[in-house]
Symmetry: C2
């Protein structure tokens, strides 16, 4: 079966939309997926940005919240706008979530954990930098204690750094991104295009 | 009949895609369109950008050319990548084209002129800052000489400036954008969503 790489960042609203729908959708195309968490921070830093462009450029940010709200509604996904009187900051610190995901995606609880983190953040408005929340979500998905220890090991930190560097070398500049062979697709709104391309029909 | 505003910039690749397909597509939704040329330059300047973000951020630019190439192919539109050994610069100076379009869109030759400018630029790789090319395209679309004179009048220059300010006041930060009432949609990939929203079904 052909495999589409799904590159995502936990702090990204549009990655939330893709994470919640990619596996069911990919199934209808007969495509499998490989989930690749990475960090946008170092990539944004290379552009000279100290935070998300949605924070730097207010018009883009205002538009993004409304656009994601519309798309979430279309997909039947709950969505809490973190810009509307919520206590949470945006973008949230996604470092520990990504480190745990790296470990979980090697075994059977990774995807459920990832969806749990997105739901906690964008449906419930919770703080995904909170280790207690993340460890609880991981355990609920099936993580063992020693796996949570492995998530914060130096070795695992290096794996996440390497994965972020790999994203940059693939030309990735935002999230979500989808990669099939040499072909890059950026944005939740390109998910169907990427799947179609992967089937060989695109 | 309900009317969707189509805000476009002549230098914009994604605006080319929308300009070539919006009127036929809108017809299938039972929606009419109002074409609103504006300049992205002053908006980019307000963000601290001296040129297109596709020029400032190489990864975004590389991606954009490939993405537009893929979409043009899907829509059956010719497309010349201006980044691939072409002599033309990007983004091109679209000031005179926009001024002529303002005049033409008040009468019956405006849309044909706009599509002609986009075709000359993105199908033929021509320089749309060239007044001879623009006046020729306008005449071919049905412009009279006095209308071409009106395009470069101080009065008309002020109209384009006001239209660009109106774009900013609507929260527009890129092109193409589509506006229906209070609702803003950004990008050629939101054209169908905007039309659906305008029908009242979205």
């Amino acid at each position: 079966m052909k495999t589409l790489e799904f590159w995502f960042e936990f702090g990204s609203t549009y990655s939330y939309l893709s994470a919640m729908r990619i596996d069911a959708l990919a199934g209808t195309y007969g495509i499998s997926t490989k989930w690749m968490p990475f960090l946008l921070g170092p990539i944004f830093k290379s552009f000279g940005w100290r935070t998300s462009p949605f924070e730097i450029y207010k018009q883009k940010g205002d538009y993004m919240w409304r656009d994601v709200e519309r798309r979430a509604s279309r997909f039947g996904l709950p969505f809490r706008r973190l810009d509307k009187g919520a206590v949470q900051v945006f973008p949230q610190n996604s470092l520990l979530a990504a480190r745990i995901a790296i470990v979980g995606l090697r075994t059977d609880w990774g995807r459920d954990f990832c969806r749990g983190v997105y739901h906690a953040q964008f449906a419930e408005g919770r703080n995904i930098a909170d280790p207690d929340l993340l460890f609880e979500l991981a355990r609920r998905s099936g993580a063992k204690s020693e796996e949570l220890g492995a998530a914060v090991s130096d070795e695992n930190k290096a794996v996440l750094r390497a994965q972020t560097k790999q994203a940059m070398s693939l030309g990735i500049f935002g999230a979500p991104s989808f990669v099939f062979g040499e072909e890059l697709f950026w944005g939740d709104d390109r998910l169907e295009d990427a799947l179609l391309f992967a089937t060989g029909a695109g």
